[in-house]
Each structure stands twice: as structure tokens, then as C-alpha cells.
């Protein structure tokens, strides 16, 4: 009982959840095959266990993504320190059955309780951060922020409405004429797309074009 009480008194009130994705892991499977891919995952697992503290909890959440729960943190800097240690540890390439393979990771991080009051919320926010990190280069990591959250929410909102917009024909084409300055006659028209959503109102292409590109809906347009 005493030990438990002492533990409670010393427990730092901050934790973090990291989603760490292996950078372009599908390439590794394509090049070396699934057997080597699995061996590599095992080696990554062993390395993660070596790097993190015995109190941290490490698991695999999908084919090439690992989840790490860090507890008893003083502040956000503790996470950054651990991420640096992770990066350094991966500088040494893996040797899998004679195949020398270099790996990098991209990570999304959610701090709790600031970035979530439930496991689901924390996970979702770490996932949003990872999505952002994956747009970056090797070893990029992103801490969850409210701004990130609002962007993610906006993305989801627009994406859902965009899909319907195609079915409903909400896109309006404005033809803007251009003139030959010598003759001052109309030389042609520039077609400009505008999205006029019943629910969201008039939306500038500056906002919906990036979403079309990211979600793969651009070709539909």
C-alpha cells in the first residue's frame, strides 16, 4: 500500500501517445518481399524496446505503424528528447539476412490530457498529426495542435461535401473573356470553377482545390 501511495504522489501528470510510421515501408516490401519485411518489423520492434524506457508501452497498431505510450513526463521536451534518441538509434542501418536496409520514420504525437480526454480522442489526434507529418520528409514529426485539428476537421467537412457536390452538380463554371490587345477583340475564354454549396455557401477554389488534390477527387472534376 505504501509503495502505491508513494507512486501516486510522484506521478507526473502528463503522458504522450506517439504514432510512428515507417517511411515508405511498402517500397521495402516491394523490393525485398514480405518475409524480409516481417523480419525488419521484428528488428524495429526490438530497437524500439531498447530505445524507450521500460515503463513505456510499445505496440504495433497497423502493418507499418507503431504506437508508443509514454507516461510520467515532466513536459513536452521529454518527448522531443526521446524522439532524438530514436532518430540517432536508426542511423545505423538494419542487417536483415545480409540485406542492409536504412529506415526512417514519421511521427504524430498527442499529449494527454491536453490533446484528449479519452484513448479514442488521443489516438485520433495522434493520427491527424501523423497525417501531417507524412506530408513532410524523413524523420518529420508533428505535435497535435488545435490549428491542426481545425484544419483536419475542415478537410473532412469539405471532403464529405465535395463528394456530394459532384453528384449534385454544385460546380459552376464562369467564363472569363480575354482580349487581343492589338485588335481589342475577344481572343478566348478562361473557364473558372466555383463551388456553390447549398450547406456551406460559396467556397473559394483556394480552399477546395487542395482538398481535391489530397483526396484524389481532382480527376472527377
Amino acid at each position: 500500500m505504501n509503495a502505491i501511495n508513494t507512486g501516486k504522489a510522484n506521478y507526473n501528470r502528463l503522458g504522450a501517445f506517439i504514432l510512428a510510421d515507417i517511411y515508405r515501408f511498402t517500397y521495402i516490401n516491394d523490393v525485398y518481399g514480405f518475409d524480409i519485411g516481417d523480419e525488419l518489423l521484428k528488428a524495429v520492434g526490438r530497437k524500439l524496446r531498447d530505445i524507450f524506457r521500460p515503463t513505456d508501452i510499445i505496440g504495433r497498431v497497423s502493418s507499418d505503424t507503431f504506437g508508443i505510450i509514454l507516461t510520467d513526463l515532466k513536459d513536452k521536451e521529454d518527448v522531443i528528447m526521446l524522439l532524438d534518441r530514436l532518430r540517432k538509434a536508426f542511423e545505423q542501418p538494419f542487417n536483415i539476412n545480409g540485406n542492409i536496409i536504412s529506415l526512417a520514420m514519421q511521427m504524430g504525437i498527442a499529449i494527454f490530457p491536453d490533446n484528449g480526454k479519452s484513448a479514442k480522442e488521443v489516438y485520433k489526434n495522434a493520427d491527424i498529426s501523423l497525417a501531417k507529418a507524412k506530408k513532410g520528409t524523413e524523420w518529420s514529426y508533428v505535435f497535435f495542435s488545435d490549428d491542426l485539428n481545425s484544419k483536419a476537421s475542415q478537410f473532412l467537412l469539405y471532403k464529405t461535401h465535395l463528394e456530394k457536390a459532384f453528384e449534385k452538380g454544385d460546380f459552376v463554371i464562369y467564363y472569363q473573356p480575354y482580349f487581343d490587345i492589338n485588335t481589342l477583340c475577344i481572343a478566348g475564354f478562361e473557364a473558372l470553377t466555383r463551388w456553390k454549396s447549398e450547406e456551406l455557401g460559396f467556397i473559394s477554389p483556394m480552399h477546395f482545390i487542395p482538398i481535391l488534390e489530397e483526396s484524389g477527387l481532382r480527376t472527377s472534376l
Binding site: I4, G7, G59, I69, T71
Partner: protein, 349 residues
Amino acid sequence: MENKIVKLYRLMRAINQEIVRSVNASTSYDEASFFEHLCDIVVKHFVKFAFIGFYIKSINKIVPAYYPKKSLDNMYLDYLKFLEISLDESDIRSKGPAATCFKTNSVVIIEDIEKDPRMIPWKEEALKRGFRSSATLPIRKNGDIIGVFEMYADEINFFQEEERSLLEELAIDIEMTLNAIKTHWLFQAIESGLSSYMDLFIMTDNDGKILYVGDKTLKVFGYDKGELLGKKVDILFNYLFNYKDLLEAISQAKEYSSIVLFRTKQNKNVYVDLAVVPIANENFIFIGKDVSKEKSLEEQMHFLLNQDPVTGLFSYSFLMAELDMHVRRVLEMSEWGRGGEPSDGGFPR
């Protein structure tokens, strides 16, 4: 007359001594031994002949089962053939002392066999053998009458109505003795069964001092009897386990059951499916089966279910459960910091 009373009291004393002896007897002493001794003892103390008969429902008769085996000649033993007594109302013998005693569940005294009409069917044979008076006591077990104990004396009025209450008391003493023998045997059977079958079978006082330990417990825990008797039960406790609930139940004299971790003398972990039961005199029985193998399999299964088969790391479901626990814990700590108390439960390592 005084002489007769002294004789009767000496008879009673001899019977009571046998009763005391039987209650404190060793394990080999049983109901049959008690009945045999009872018949042998009374014929050594002024009684000419005695028998114990039991009622057999299928034939509606009282049939002699025990009689004195020592120092009696055939003349007396021959009398037994007259003692199969029908309880059928049409049979005159159903009016005799044994049948009446059985039917009324009370002592029947024949002060003078020669003159008492109830003895007509047996008078001639009884007098031939020198029997002059008799007393028939009911034999009861757990309140039910099961047979009779009949004694014959060679004096008229050796048994008299004045001694009825004394003889009734004797019948009660015999009943108590039979109950005590039954309880003793039942305990012996339970004790030997539990002692040899249960992996943990100990009795403690309310301070936890071990008063009794079963044979198999000694084997499972690797102790000699002398190493455990008189020691506190916490000699078997394992520092990896929290005995708070168990000790609390004991302090409140309540029953307790759970899977509990103990340790052997060789410091080996033993999981026991344990029940602790308060018994008489503020003592406790600890009884349980070793479930270490089952527990180990359960842990292996739990581990496999929560493990990612490729990397050996935790699975998604386990990670989510852990994340949930840690997020809740951190929230509780935040509440605590604002004046709330954290709840008990798994704590971060």
C-alpha cells in the same frame, strides 16, 4: 434396599464410564464397538442378561443385534431366539416391554417378571434363566428411535418405577454418545479426505496461528508439520500479492474466496483457489486447490491475445486498453491536483 440402590448406581457408573471412554476413543471406536461394550459391561454389574435390538421396518419386528459375548453360557444366549419381537398389534408380543418401549419411545420397567402380564409370552423362559426384573431403554439417534436396550436382573424390583428418571437420563446419554460417535467419524472422514485431497487445508485461530495442517498441504508447500504448527499463516504469504481483502474478511469473521498467491518454503509461487471460512471458537479454515497450472495457461493465453504475432510487441487492442487506463489516470491526477482523490486501480509502473 440400600444395597440394591448401590448396585444400580454402580451399574449406571459403569455405563457412564463406557460412554465417556467412547467419546474420547481413538478412531477405531465405532457404534458397533459401543453397543458390544455396553452389553458386556452391564452383565459384569449385577445384570444377568442384556441385548440391543433394532427395528426392521420391512418385517415390522425388533431383531436382536448385540448381546454380551463374554462370560455368558449358552443357557442365556439361547434366550435370544425368543426375542424377535413383532410390532404387529395382533401379536401378543407387541404388548411386551421391547415393543412398548419402541412404540412409546420411553423406558419400560418390569419390576416382577413373574407377575407382570406384559411378560406372559416370555415368562417361563425368563424365569428358567433366573431373570426376575427388567428395564428397557429406547435407543435414539438424532431424536429418532431406532431400537431398544433391554436389561434383565436376577432380583425382583432391581429395576423399579422410582428409578425411571434415572433410566430416562441413561437413554439420553446413550443417544448423545451415538451422536458424538457419528460426528467424530464424520469429522474423521472429512478430515482425512480434505487432508489428503486439498492442496491447502489448514486451521488457524483468530490471530492467524496455525492449529492444524493437512498432509497434502505439507507436500505442496514443502514444510514439515513442526515447521508450520504454531506459526502465523503469513509464513505462506507471498510479497507479490495484496492480502488486504483476505485479512479484512478475517478481521470481520467473514467468509472469503478468491484466487490467492502463496509461496512455498522454496519460494515458489503457488496460486490457490482459496476459501477461508470462519468456524467455531473464532477459528478459521483455509481450504483450496493449487491452480498454478491453470493460472499459468491463462496468463499465456492472455499474453498471446494481447501480443502482435509478428513483432512480439503489444497488439492494437492491448495498446488501446493501456492508453485508456493511462489517460484516465492522468485525468484523475489532474483532478487530484485540484483537490480530488485518485481512485484505486492499476498504477503505472
